[in-house]
Amino acid sequence: MKAAPFDYVRATSLDEVCALLAEAGDQERKIIAGGQTLVPLMAMRMARPDMLIDVNDVAELAGIEDRGAHVAFGACTRQRTIERSGVVSDRLPLVAKAVRNVGHIQTRNRGTIGGSIVHGDPSAELPLAALALEATLVLKTIGGSREITIDGFFEAAMVTNIEPEELLTEVRIPVWSGARIGTGFHETASRQGDFAIVAAAAQVQLADNGTIARAAVSAGGVAPAPVKLHAFEAALVGKQPSEAEIEAAISLIDEEIDPDTDVHATADYRRRVARRLVARAVLDAAAEAGK
């Protein structure tokens, strides 16, 4: 057995989970949902919680609901459920494209959207798409709940702004209104399904004259946390979605990203790949929007 010993509680209600978190005292109590990030961390003893609170039987935490202006995902909704969801492919095509790049079928069958976001792996795809589209997170404690925007939630690699007594219950991803919307998602990895070295997500809306009216763009694997490319997004608005125009703006991302060198790639390589993948994602999104 590789993980350090822990107590295990299989919770059945949100109140039970929040009470266990509130009563932790000096103990480290961790939520386990899909376990696809946490269990490897425990196997390597990088995490050694005193107690695991299993939320897989908490019914309120699973499900996908189309609420018009946004789609709400229960935090424990499986990545595979998202991949198979008609609501997601119709209403959030960027999320549908992103989720197909998450791990493998065996891990998507267990992994959840909430787990992916609260762990904050800098190369993870679902946080990237949720960040591009400015998702709202609902965090619950025994005393109440708060809603926060995802921009600013990712603090550093595997560090997110969630308090020890808080439980992520819902992820709300906005749906853009109007026509001529397209999406693009690109990543480079050693093999399909491996951790992304660099990933880019883009959603674009075109005006009647064919210029970019609205752009949402984010990049992963290029900083300790996924990055929303605010300056680059702003520069795209009003431009024709041509290669030349995107090329003229792409250097703006250099200031917004801060990649490290690691065993997979150098910082310089990540910078070069980020430029290409971001440009490609935007071009794909614009081409799809123009159809």
């Binding site: 350090a4 010993p5 822990f6 386990i32 196997a43 695991l52 079928i105 069958n109 399904g193």
Partner: protein, 163 residues
């Protein structure tokens, strides 16, 4: 802390009970407690896919689940892919015929992943097959014969149902 917990799992159609510490993974429980050693344990942190089993019908990695979490669920291991009389399945037969293995370490995971694919999609393209086994590492075959074996199984099933 971490007192032993009694769990009951339905494994290959039979209810099985085991006394496990919470930190025991499902794959260790299957192999060491229930003596079902067909499922292999490789990397033990969710990279290699050798420990793939069906959990409520869907393929998962049994090294990334604690056995206590499987309480009350249905598990199907590679041993459960054979017919009741012990005869190997058509998929296993195709693996044999195509020589879709050498050392055999990845084979149970490959069989489980391919079995799940064919249950969901009886007419997979080669891309579908490659996607389905992409979470399973094989260091011997170069994957070609494995893809061929899955393709052959699908083709034979179509011929049987048409003929």
């Amino acid at each position: 802390m971490s007192d032993y917990v009694e769990i009951t799992l339905n494994v290959n159609g039979r209810d099985r009970t085991a006394l496990v510490p919470p930190r025991m993974t499902l794959v260790d429980c299957l192999r060491d407690m229930l003596r079902l050693t067909g499922t292999h344990v490789g990397c033990e942190h969710g990279i290699c896919g050798a420990c793939s089993v069906l959990f409520d019908g869907e393929p998962i990695r049994s090294c990334l689940m604690f056995a206590v979490q499987a309480q009350g669920h249905e598990i199907r291991t590679v041993e459960g892919l054979t017919a009741a009389d012990g005869e190997i399945s058509d998929l296993q037969d195709s693996f044999w015929e195509c020589h879709a293995m050498q050392c055999g370490y990845c084979t149970p995971g490959m069989l489980v992943a391919s079995h799940a694919l064919l249950e969901e999609n009886p007419n997979p393209t080669d891309d579908d097959i490659r996607e389905a086994i992409s979470g399973n590492l094989c260091r011997c075959t170069g994957y070609q014969q494995i893809v061929e074996a899955v393709r052959m199984t699908a083709q034979r099933r179509r011929e049987t149902s048409n003929g």
